[in-house]
């Protein structure tokens, strides 16, 4: 029982990290049709920014962690917004070029991080509470799992409220459905493109800080490894669907955790198998709309 609980909560924590990356990927694809391969790099820089800023203030203090997390969020948002303004903006509707540019950017940012911080993983410390465990029904659950879950739920709620109750949210929801009709109503939909990149980058930046707590390291590999799972989550959830991304994040992470434990080391294989099954049986994903 305690093992199942531990696996479930750890799975939720991992799902939370996936969601923080997948939410942005999904929104960006939904509105602009861009597959953003640089999204993992936003996460990685968020992780490094969090590390550097926390260190200045005191990595094991709560203020240090909080300001570091904020730095991660802002770094992710800034890099993402710049990516949209300087690179992606010129390439809308040119899908091959978009892939080349975002893959190239991911490689370049990865190399930049290696140059600055080295290729070896840096050990991350946080407030003591983070590495302690809470005992629930006999399961000893590391506290950083709870933090990741709470953060992901807050991000989900924040994005949902933003989409539902703001003018930009309205434009984004309409744009995901039918972008050219939005412009035909007199709205400059491009402004919301930058905003969506920034919001997605902010979530990824936060994901970077929390992932470095979860794995207790930050390294240039942090981005690419999470990005792969986030892409799988986005496809299973249905490209463009935020709710789909949230549900699929949890499902994929749970599947991965449980299979890894009970069928030693086959978790990643199970996830890829699930992806293949979804693509065969329901190609638009769990919550994806049928392409118009």
């Amino acid at each position: 029982m305690s093992t199942v609980l531990l696996l479930a909560i750890t799975g939720l924590g991992l799902g939370a990290l996936y969601f923080l990356v997948a939410s942005g990927l999904s929104l960006i694809y939904g509105l602009m049709g861009v597959l953003n391969f640089a999204h993992g790099a936003f996460l990685m820089f968020g992780g490094y920014a969090g590390y550097e800023v926390s260190r200045l203030i005191g990595a094991t203090t709560w203020p240090g962690f909080a300001v570091g997390a904020l730095a991660g969020v802002l770094t992710g948002a800034a890099i993402a917004a710049l990516t949209e303004l300087l690179l992606v903006r010129r390439l809308y509707e040119r899908h091959i070029e978009q892939v080349l540019v975002t893959v190239g950017l991911a490689l370049a940012l990865g190399a930049l991080a290696s140059g600055v911080w080295g290729t070896d993983a840096i050990i991350i410390t946080g407030p003591d509470w983070m590495s302690e465990v809470t005992v629930i029904l006999g399961a000893r659950v590391p506290n950083n799992r709870f933090l990741a879950i709470i953060a992901a739920v807050a991000v989900l709620a924040g994005i949902v409220l933003f989409l539902k109750f703001t003018r930009y949210g309205l434009i984004i929801r309409a744009g995901v459905e039918n972008r050219s009709m939005v412009t035909a109503l007199g709205i400059d939909v491009r402004k919301s493109f930058t905003l969506v990149f920034a919001v997605g980058g902010a979530a990824a930046g936060l994901g970077g800080v929390l992932a470095s707590q979860y794995y207790t390291i930050v390294s240039p590999h942090l981005g690419p490894s999470l990005l792969i799972f986030a892409f799988i989550v986005t496809v299973i959830g249905g490209l463009g669907s935020l709710t789909g991304a949230a549900i699929a994040s949890v499902l994929v992470a749970m599947l991965q955790q449980f299979v890894n434990y009970y069928v030693f080391g086959l978790g990643e294989f199970a996830v890829v198998l699930a992806l293949a099954l979804v693509l065969l049986i329901r190609p638009r994903g769990l919550m994806g709309r049928v392409a118009a």
Partner: protein, 255 residues
Amino acid sequence: MSPELILSVRNLSASIAGQQVVEDVSLDVPATGVTALLGRNGVGKTSTIKAILGLIPRRGEILLDGVGIDREPTHRIVQRGVGYVPEDREVFAGLTVAENLKLAQRGPDAHWDVVETLFPDLVQRSAQLAGTLSGGQQQMVSLARALLNPNRLLLVDEPTKGLAPKIVGEVADALVRAAELAPILLVEQNLAVVRALARDVVVVSGGRVVHTGPAAEFLDDPDLVRRHLGVHGDAPESAAAGAVPDGAHPTEAPA
């Protein structure tokens, strides 16, 4: 004819996916009343409207109230006061009726009163998802989105397509009211509706304009109608004619 033009198009050509769909269209829209854009299926009526709005790549000269708009992006053109009711309605299915309208509102001086009197049904259904509305109701949303704003020109593409006769009448009534507020360039296959609403017609064939003139003159010439549209004129006893109720009268230019 009316010396005052709201829209003047010269040598317009346009392409979709690299294929030329508008060859060489020149047409004028007077500053009042309804001008009907006619032609057989697939001649490029919708493409002409989309090219005017910049929704597809185009070349040529387009003057809105004397100002060149052929290099402007779609949202700027619309902000200049152009209302667009697309073929097939294109309401946002996942948004409520109220959200569809709110999205379409371009400024503080919106004509909510016009929308409320013309489409009382929409007020009642404001919380309903637009995707769950009937075709006729969706057309009302699409029209309301355009009529909500103060417009200098309305571009309306086949507003009665696929609607029941009773609803065709309601749409025609709404267009009569709309024409009192702004001139309309109207694509319409239902010739009874054209007769009831339009003062002038522009007929396209093979990507070019082949006939321009007063609507009545064109519709009363069965030969012309058959040659350009491939259909018979609207004999009064035809079903289509019955679709337009008493409310819709031929629109004359305001004095």
